[in-house]
Symmetry: C2
Subunit: 163 residues, 2 copies
Amino acid sequence: MALFPVFLLTCAAAGMAGVFFRPGAWYRGLDKPTWTPPNRLFPVIWAVLYVLIALAAARIAEVPDNDLALGLWGLQITINTLWSGVFFGLHRMLAGALIIAALWVTVLATTVAFWSLDMTAALMMVPYLIWGTYALALNTSVWLRNRGRDDAQRDEAAVTGKR
Amino acid sequence: MALFPVFLLTCAAAGMAGVFFRPGAWYRGLDKPTWTPPNRLFPVIWAVLYVLIALAAARIAEVPDNDLALGLWGLQITINTLWSGVFFGLHRMLAGALIIAALWVTVLATTVAFWSLDMTAALMMVPYLIWGTYALALNTSVWLRNRGRDDAQRDEAAVTGKR
């Protein structure tokens, strides 16, 4: 587990994107499905997932022939870092959904690559994959519910509380 | 070089941050040093650097005991992905400089780790390290020259062309 700090730092860098770009008035004003989780849940879930996937990568770093697995892990965390700025910063909901779709495929590929090396590490990726599935559904639903409305209308809705 | 596509895709994901967050009216209106490169140079330089560091990582993926080196490579590209949104998206110049400083340290550590495994791969990281040094100087200079001015003043300068 010698490399756990390196992978945890990498997750921390990805998490910084969510610290810089947060849900604000724009997100509050969006029409969201009833199964949208409360905002305060997101940082808790991400903290747990980041520790789990950093532990998984640190386990994988100790087995032979792990190059593809480590490469895919690096790809998924880079795609992960992109999302917050595009969704919360630029308010680009479709682009956000496409980024999560690419993330989902990469996390699945990483999990499969981990599975052949260390089953425990692969299992540590499963909650991330489940949360990714949910995040993809949520982002897509938010896009479908709000795509007809421009930013000005949404900003107004955020201020007046109207939907 | 079997893993070159994975590392190039990772660089492409990092580069997407620069596609989503571009220099615009705000950046034009900033007081910048005389040694600021023209905007059109940035994508060209980044394309070359990304191909070089993806090649370097693909070489490192083929040598034994590369786990730390690949872990550090993943850390630096994740930090790299953060910068564009913070600087061009949020206009946070000091945070941008701190991100490049963290990136610079990580790229140096990656290059050192590569050096002990494959000297050619380490040399392929050197242009990135040089560009990182320059980018850190430029970001810091821009922060020092503009930190007293708020966004409204800068936006006005962008429109009127005044400094």
